[in-house]
Amino acid sequence: MKEPIIKFKDFGFRYKTQKNPTLYDINLEIYPGEKVLILGASGSGKSTLCNCINGLIPFSYEGEITGSCIVNGVETKSASIFKLSNSVGTVLQDSDAQFVGLSVGEDIAFSLENDILPRKEMVPIVEKNASMVGMQDFIDHVPFQLSGGQKQKVAIAGVFGEKVEILIFDEPLAALDPQMGMTAVSLINNISKESEKTILIVEHRLEDVLYKPIDRVILMNEGRIVFDATPDELLRSTMLQECGIREPLYITAMKYAGCSLEGNKNLCDLNELEFTKENEEKLKAFFQEKREELPEIHGTSEIKFDHVSYSYSGKRNVVDDISFEIKKGERVAIIGKNGAGKSTAAKLLCGIIRPGTGTITVEGKDTKDMSVKEIGEKVGYVMQDPNTMIVKDIIKDEVGLALTVRGNSQEETDAKIQKSLETCGLYKMRNWPVDSISYGQKKRVTVASMMALEPDVLVLDEPTAGQDFRSYTEIMKFVNYLNKELGKTILFITHDMHLAIENTDRAIVFTDGKIVADDKVFAVLSNDEVIQKASLKQTSLYTLAMKLGLDPEETIRSFIEYERGVK
């Protein structure tokens, strides 16, 4: 029996600034060469656990450690972070912030520089590590020229030292679009296979990580390890819902169809999954069942793009001759990979930039003659990161800002603030400082500050990026309420396929500044050609349909109809 490379014994940790411990009773052994997923919702303690392994605790975060944690034969309590960094490489979540060099080569060389390696010896190592992640042709590139996925590859190359035996990936998928996420998961898998290093992946997006095999899953909840076994066993258990983790879509479908999860081989890998005969029949019956059709939306025209083009430099059109119409009360997903033109389209809609050719009308009025301020009263744009929107320190003032700058009277402003806060469920917190609330609540505040102007359209830019399932559910429930009860038109700019399936009626797909599809969401998601063109990720429902020999479009439609019917 091999010795464990990481060994926690009765380990606990409490941050100096917090009253209660973040980790309790951790007993865990990880063996060399294992590929382990550490799964958990935000605040479950999974990142803290990793920081105990790589030495950031206690080096950067002070606190009280109980029990013992031995990494590669070293007790972390007394070891320096530098000693640990020789054997543990950590790729952090924010691929941009951890890029400290001013070029790809420099960033990969960063730890070598700190080891006082002469430049002559550094260059071949940098080249070798860069080619391992496929970045050898980008050595001179500056961070501003790279995509999120490329930055992450550089980060991996930068921690991949000779002596490193453990690689930790902290939420590697958080900042990536679906296609890049798949590439990242494959890359991690290749490293694991070729290098025999121990790999720890910290994530909450189970389905995306399971794209490639995982040896073991450790599920964390509220500072404790609640589950430690193979992914198959995890999917069969009921632990996922209890811990706020989204289960893979095909598992949800199987549960809807009343399938038993016992007895199916390779449950965690849909391609290799062998259904029992009984399950196969149940699934087929489920997907072919006739259900109440999704209601058509026949509203008046709310937004209309008519042959709109735009270019930043005057050379290439970032948005190229696009036309679409959105009806009042619709929920539409604008999808496409980063740089496909979807954010530019949103900026055009809000009037921050103006179309080179073509017209944009909101409620039948050409926006050409409206100022950004005036458009803002009709279309509320909620940015991805609420921290970039909030300027006041008290919630009430933040929500009222747009009204105050418009010079509304005090009573009118107060009344509108109150209404908006009540709609958004923030009235009780109106006098709270913004710093004291959670990320999801901040998101709500930014929506509330838009709602104060009573716009008819809300544009939400990546509303669920970096959110765990619990926070995602909370935000979407709120947005759906605004749509159903108040009749707001909702535009999601997203690459989250789950969001599109669960919360939208229609999807408009952008690729290279053009619209390649504009149809019902199930029709778009079952169109393999569109998905490939737009570099999106096929949902597992599609794969499931193919496996069962069913029509993907009908399958996805049936799933959506069932889901909406239940809710």
């Binding site: 790589n54 950031l56 080096f59 950067s60 972070i81 530098f82 960094s85 952090l92 924010d94 941009d96 912030a97 951890q98 890029f99 400290v100 060099g101 001013l102 070029s103 080569g105 420099e106 060389a109 960063f110 730890s111 070598l112 520089e113 700190n114 080891d115 006082i116 430049r119 002559k120 550094m122 260059v123 940098v126 001179d140 590139h141 500056v142 961070p143 501003f144 020229q145 921690v159 921050i352 100022s371 950004v372 301020k373 458009i375 803002g376 009263e377 279309v379 744009y381 940015m383 990161d385 921290n387 970039t388 929107m389 909030i390 300027v391 800002l401 700058v405 418009r406 500050s449 102007l453």
Partner: protein
Amino acid sequence: MNNRMVINYTPGPTLLHKLSGFTKVFLFLVMTVAIIATYDIRILVPLLILNIIEIVSMKPNYKPILIVFAITFVTVTLLGNVMLFLVSPDAGLNNVGGNHILWQGPGRLYISKEFLWYMFVVFIKRTTSFASVMAFALATTPSEFASGLNKCGLPYKVCTIVSLAYRTIPDIANDFVNIRNSMMMRGVEMSKKASVWKRLKNTVYLLVPLIFTAFGKVNDIANAMDLRGYGKHKKRTWFAENEPTKWDKIFRVLTIVLLIATVYYVVMYRFINPWPAKFWCPWLAREEVISVNAIDTIFFMDWFKK
């Protein structure tokens, strides 16, 4: 990203670009000392020509350089000279040491040949320092700057601050645009429609989220650096610091020659055989130079004496 600003992030292809960071920083520092220490056109003009050759050899995008130059020329030189003329028309007498009056204006205002010479030399001096800064900025990437400073003896933690600052400038600019857009949509007027004062006031709104998003990243950056062993040893090496080539050696020798020449000049002309005025002037021989105590000629001094 390149050429949009004067800051150069990727090394260019020309000879100067390829010199090591230390060579460039060393040359720049010595050049700066030479420019500051001398008011002598016989030294400034060769340095100016040298720097212009350097700039031209790098085939840069001239537009931003000329824009910055035009702005500094108009504001600093023109405005400065007019003010100087009004406040102290004696500057020619004080600094150059001659008084060949060309035009006698009302009251105490007059223009002398020496005053024009003074303005001309000051202009050349400013232009030379501008050209030397430009040549340096165009030739050097921020990382070469950091590694070069470190080699010149500055502690490496200070040098890292320099390169990290350059690393974050474009990110902050990006955040700024995003935040401004979101503010505009909420009705905070940022366009030319609002008065300057109002726009200035509204800009304050942007600073809060800008500072908070920037600070949010500090922790991540610090962690990323700790995890990769930053600060492990008292020294570190630099990937950006190229091995010195033949050209590096040539440039370093030239820099040392310039350094010696500057020191020699300062010692000779200031201490051993000091020139009687601050500025050398072609039409004034040593005996003709009038040495004036500058304090006496400040215009309000007359009132004190009364």
